[in-house]
Amino acid sequence: MYQLLKRKSRGDVWFDIINNILLTLVMLLVLFPLYFVLIASFSDPNYIYSGEVWLFPKGFTLDGYERIFSDSSIWIGYVNSILYATLGTIIGVAVTVFAAYPLARKNLVGKSVIMWFLMITMFFSGGLIPTYLLIKDLHMLNTIWALVIPGAGGVFNVIIVRTFFQSSIPDEMWEAASIDGCSNTRFFWSIVLPLSKSILAVMVLYHVVGFWNGFFDALIYLNDENKYPLQLVLRNILVQNQVNSGMMIDVESYAAKMRVTELIKYGVIIVSSLPLLILYPFLQKYFVKGVMIGSIKG
């Protein structure tokens, strides 16, 4: 240890020390809010508001979680969310990759026209009402398809994946394979996809997060509560307990409701983000690599 320190100049040592202190502070800044949400979800809301909770839960209570989990729609929501996220991710990633690969190949005819059309959709959208009408006319209202189909194949993702293909799958590889009699399909399945695990992982993560956190489409297109995804269910629990000051007479349970809202607010954050927190470490190692290569124009 002493040896190590000795090799550095006094300035270096100070630099390291200050650096470490600063970084630790920054880390605490980032971590504390997360930690606070966790302990707050176990604390009595009155203590949270009087600022007495900051390092340990105070007035320990499981009321919030009890409240959240006593609601059977939570479990329905979980199941639905997993279903939507899985199906939506499969469709979305498939569409993205199938669109991106041909666009990455030099010999695709009319490549720039297709790109041009795709790009337009990035800047102009139909707007809420026409989109709603379209979904309605396609008879997708109140079905799972309204959630997983319209958003499949985002152009932004297509561009990232296309760039990744362009930069990491050299043309020579295709030439070599085709000389050996490899078909386009075979090349795609046996060579391109296995070489693109990192970008696939990134796409999976993007889509899963998107579907997991999305509630607006469900809000607009779904009528049947048994089809609601988790985020919408949680939102409903939260707003149901939110107090509406317009209701002049129903104030009776104002305070009680307020307390429940505060209680479950933090619990809901934990419950809804847990699956992603679990998923993220498994995909994280691909993450930096995939996005970096994908986003650098080839």
Partner: protein
């Protein structure tokens, strides 16, 4: 090549615009289908309304965790009686406005909107373009309960009638007067006793009491943690607007009061100025106002009443209990309006408060308006109206010997408000419970009864005679109001906080008043005055 793409792109875009434009027109211009002549299936009177089941599609908001209306006991009973099946599309109430607009704009219309919450603006505009149909003829022919109600209470009919003479939406109202003064002013009686002070009668005594709270450690914990006065600036029932009455002119959230049929804007009157001066000099400067009063939300506010040591000296809320909890509430008492330095002593009367106008609308897609009207009219029968608003017989109510609906005990582990949400559409639903109905047909809940008593004892003797009723404006008037008012009120409220916190009323007052005029205050007041005159005229003619 490039320019070709450009041209193609422009064409595509132009096409898209044309298409989207077309589809909207297509829906808008669809003619209202004349309702087919009713066959023998429809009974003009009596029950069931139809012999063979008819299904209607209705969109309605509901409390987020309440069951679908089709599973609610009250609607099951209605279906059995009337033979009309409702295909409910329930939307969590917080998202309702958004989805309602989407349905209306996209022309994806149900037969009717239930507990519809249509604004005046929507009633008039959608009434004008035919999206929702006028109801007065249907009421005349098929709605005996509504007709009886209108005969009993012409004011209800006149207040739901649009300026163009049509009725587009049906009323919803619990006519109970509980909201006349939302600002219940509470003081810590046990602290007063401890400090040897009597319950303040005048503003100056009150200020002395607050000062004593601050300086003499009435909670005996050796710390100066007492909050003499906490409130929530310009919020529903938590503002100090009522205390302005000590200077002769009470304030309210709209800054608008009525005296002798004249609309007065409070926030540029001399009384208001005096009040602000007083609050800054005597209260804020001496640290008697909780500085968080201007920023806190209800959760923070409520937490202040429940700290380990009692810290709250005085506060404003709908009632005593909720802020400090039932345990501590015995330490606190209500304050009657205080007598001001110049002898003023009055409390405001909340504006509006008439019947809701948009509780039920029928759309042009409805092929059975008569059936629909007869179905909804069932819910204007007073007993039924009560059940729609609070919950069904045998679940929430039972009938006593005189036939009055009285509350059954609420099941364990759930608050009354929450329970009622799950068994009935609630206070936004159709149905009118008039003032005479309370006590005769349905019992007020215990806490509402208490509130009525408190109002009677503490506030009614000092209350303003008039308020600004809920008036159905012309669309142009609404446009103007919407253009001027939000900005103006925002400015007034910001300035009000500034004057209380930073002072400077004397120096900045003229400038402030001039700015208000520049923002269109006079136009705004003129519209309100015109509206009020028209309303009074209508009542006289009835």
């Amino acid at each position: 090549m490039k320019s070709l793409f450009k041209k193609a792109g422009i064409l595509v875009l132009a096409g898209a615009f044309v298409l989207s434009g077309c589809s909207e027109n297509g829906n808008g211009s669809k003619k209202q289908e004349s309702s087919p002549v009713q066959n023998t299936n429809f009974n003009k009177t009596g029950l069931p309304i139809v012999n063979n089941t008819v299904t209607l599609r209705m969109v309605s908001p509901k409390a987020a965790l309440a069951p679908e209306f089709s599973e609610m006991e009250i609607f099951k009973r209605l279906e059995k009686e009337t033979n009309i099946k409702i295909k409910w599309e329930n939307i969590p109430d917080t998202d309702y406005a958004e989805k309602k607009n989407l349905l209306l704009a996209s022309g994806d219309l149900p037969d009717a909107f239930y507990a519809a919450g249509f604004t005046d603006y929507e009633l008039i505009n959608y009434g004008k373009d035919g999206t929702i149909i006028p109801l007065e003829d249907l009421i005349d022919q098929y709605a005996p309960n509504l007709k009886a109600l209108f005969e009993r209470r012409p004011d209800i009919k006149s207040s739901i009638t649009a300026p163009d003479g049509h009725i587009y939406g049906l009323p919803s109202w619990e006519d109970n007067n509980l909201g006349t003064n939302p600002f219940f002013h509470v003081i810590n009686k046990s602290w007063l006793d401890k400090l040897g002070l009597k319950v303040p009668q005048t503003l100056d005594e009150y200020t002395e009491a607050l000062l004593a709270f601050k300086t003499q450690d009435p909670n005996d914990n050796g710390k100066q943690d007492e909050i003499p006065l906490s409130f929530m600036h310009m919020q529903w029932c938590m503002d100090i607007a009522g205390i302005f009455g000590a200077f002769g002119l009470p304030d309210n959230l709209e800054h608008r009061v009525v005296r002798d049929g004249k609309v007065i804007f409070t926030a540029n009157q001399p009384e208001y100025k005096e009040a602000l001066k007083y609050f800054h000099e005597k209260w804020y400067k001496q640290g008697l106002i909780d500085p968080e009063s201007f920023t806190q939300d209800a959760a923070q506010y409520l937490a202040k009443g429940k700290t380990t040591d009692e810290t709250l000296g005085s506060y404003i809320w709908w009632e005593i209990d909720e802020v400090v909890g039932t345990e501590r509430s015995k330490d606190y008492v209500l304050l009657s309006p205080l007598k001001g330095p110049n002898g003023g002593q009055t409390i405001g009367r909340a504006n509006g408060g008439g019947p809701g106008r948009g509780a039920f609308v029928i759309t042009k897609e409805n092929k059975n308006p008569e059936i629909t009207m007869r179905w909804i009219d069932q819910q204007y029968e007073p007993y039924m109206a009560a059940q729609i608003h609070w919950g069904p017989l045998d679940v929430v109510f039972e009938k006593d010997e005189s036939g009055k609906l009285v509350n059954l005990p609420v099941p364990d582990g759930i608050s009354a408000g929450e329970f009622r949400q799950k068994v009935a559409p609630g206070s936004g639903g159709p149905g009118v419970i008039t003032f005479e109905d309370f006590g005769k047909i349905v019992d007020m809940e215990l806490r509402a009864q208490q509130r009525a008593k408190d109002l009677e004892q503490y506030y009614n003797p000092y209350m303003e005679k008039e308020n600004y009723p809920s008036i159905f404006f012309e669309p142009e008037e609404l446009d103007k109001i919407n253009k001027i008012e939000p900005e103006l009120i925002k400015y007034v409220n910001t300035q009000r906080a500034k004057f209380i916190v930073d002072g400077g009323v004397n120096e900045q007052w003229d400038n402030y008043v001039k700015t208000l005029e520049k923002m269109g205050l006079n136009d705004l007041m003129e519209i309100y005055q015109t509206g009020l005159d028209r309303y009074n005229e209508n009542l006289k003619n009835k």
